[in-house]
Subunit: 217 residues, 2 copies
């Protein structure tokens, strides 16, 4: 069945790959599934047509036949459940891989998003400069724990899984701050993830999408 | 197989049910599965034995035979996948219910946790008083969208699911602030969830656990 996802009409990052549609594109590439991308403007995101697909007015969404999903974690999990390549067959290993999807989104990403909020939503506030180092230290605390757990293995639990896809995606968001490179094992882990052909295709496609000419093409 | 979860030796909330083991207890009650609870002190949470179970040194964890999981969302999802009662059988309805688990944890809970961080980790900072209303407004924005989506139906997508369990659990965290009651539909939704016998049992058990006498019992 034809898969259609939504993405920002123009990603605010200009194609750095940090918008969340990249995570879904990557999962679809790992699963070898073709898909179409429908751009949504910031104005359209707040309109009833889009809110019917995504109650919180965000991207990405996922449509496949009669099924409509939102929330990146849920979409990546759905792709990983439905198609081979992103979750192990063994039930216990599968549960552990799914655990890493949740850990990436619920334990590692929150302080990283707090840093973004502090910069963009509160960057003009008098406390901004003093708060940023506090948040950076919360990120370092989590990355230190993650690095200790990862040790010298290649992926979080055996073979590459949707858990690694999500964790690497979350870590990519903090790389521009310089904090990722303070943790060489994690920086190398992200580099291994980026080197995957499926990520390369997803990244190239989102870059082309976000830099396409306004008259189409 | 015997299920063992971990919980705070004494929950900082004194048994209000806001610690995350309550979410797991509730899921196990909905699924009709007996379980044991192992208390973990704050000191023990940072020790190698617990870090081997939970790389980020938190509770709850979940052990069942040879399987060890951490991260509340992953544990609730595992229980919902393994036992009947928390996810619909229809594949599309199931994917939508899972979407609400992720939406509760990744879209609705983050500003609620930010409020907690602002109060407890930054409560002594000079900006605390001015920041709290900003965060409260971020929570209101999300709850307004959720309330609009819920409308006058009983549960988020058809019958009660693990998605409702997680969403109600997240909303319970914000009730002490008074913000939940600004959204009568959501307050009624939470009250419906709390009225479920499985929630009542889970709440009573965590209360008894957190108020037990220090000499055992």
């Amino acid at each position: 069945m034809k898969i259609t996802i939504t993405a920002f009409e123009r990603s605010p990052d200009g194609g750095m790959g940090l918008a969340r549609d990249t995570r879904v594109r990557w999962a679809l590439e790992e699963a070898g599934q073709p898909y179409a991308v429908r751009p949504v403007s910031f104005a359209a995101m707040k309109q009833p047509a889009h809110l019917a697909l995504h109650p919180f007015g965000q991207i990405p969404t996922y449509e496949e036949g009669g099924l409509a999903l939102f929330e990146t974690g849920a979409i990546v999990f759905h792709i990983a459940s439905r198609y081979p390549g992103l979750l192990p067959d063994d039930a216990d290993a599968r549960a552990r891989a799914i655990t890493w999807i949740f850990a990436a989104l619920n334990t590692v990403e929150p302080p990283i998003l707090e840093l973004a909020t502090a910069k963009f939503a509160e960057g003009d506030k008098p406390w901004s400069k003093e708060r940023l180092p506090l948040i950076a230290d919360r990120i370092r605390h989590r990355l230190g724990q993650l690095s200790a757990h990862l040790g010298d293995v290649e992926w979080l639990d055996g073979t590459f899984s949707a858990g690694d896809l999500m964790m690497a995606s979350v870590l990519l968001r903090v790389r521009p701050s310089g904090i990722l490179d303070e943790f060489p094992r994690l920086a190398a882990y992200v580099a291994r993830a980026e080197a995957r052909p499926a990520y390369q295709r997803a990244f190239a496609d989102q870059l082309a999408f976000n830099t396409r000419s306004p008259t189409g093409g």
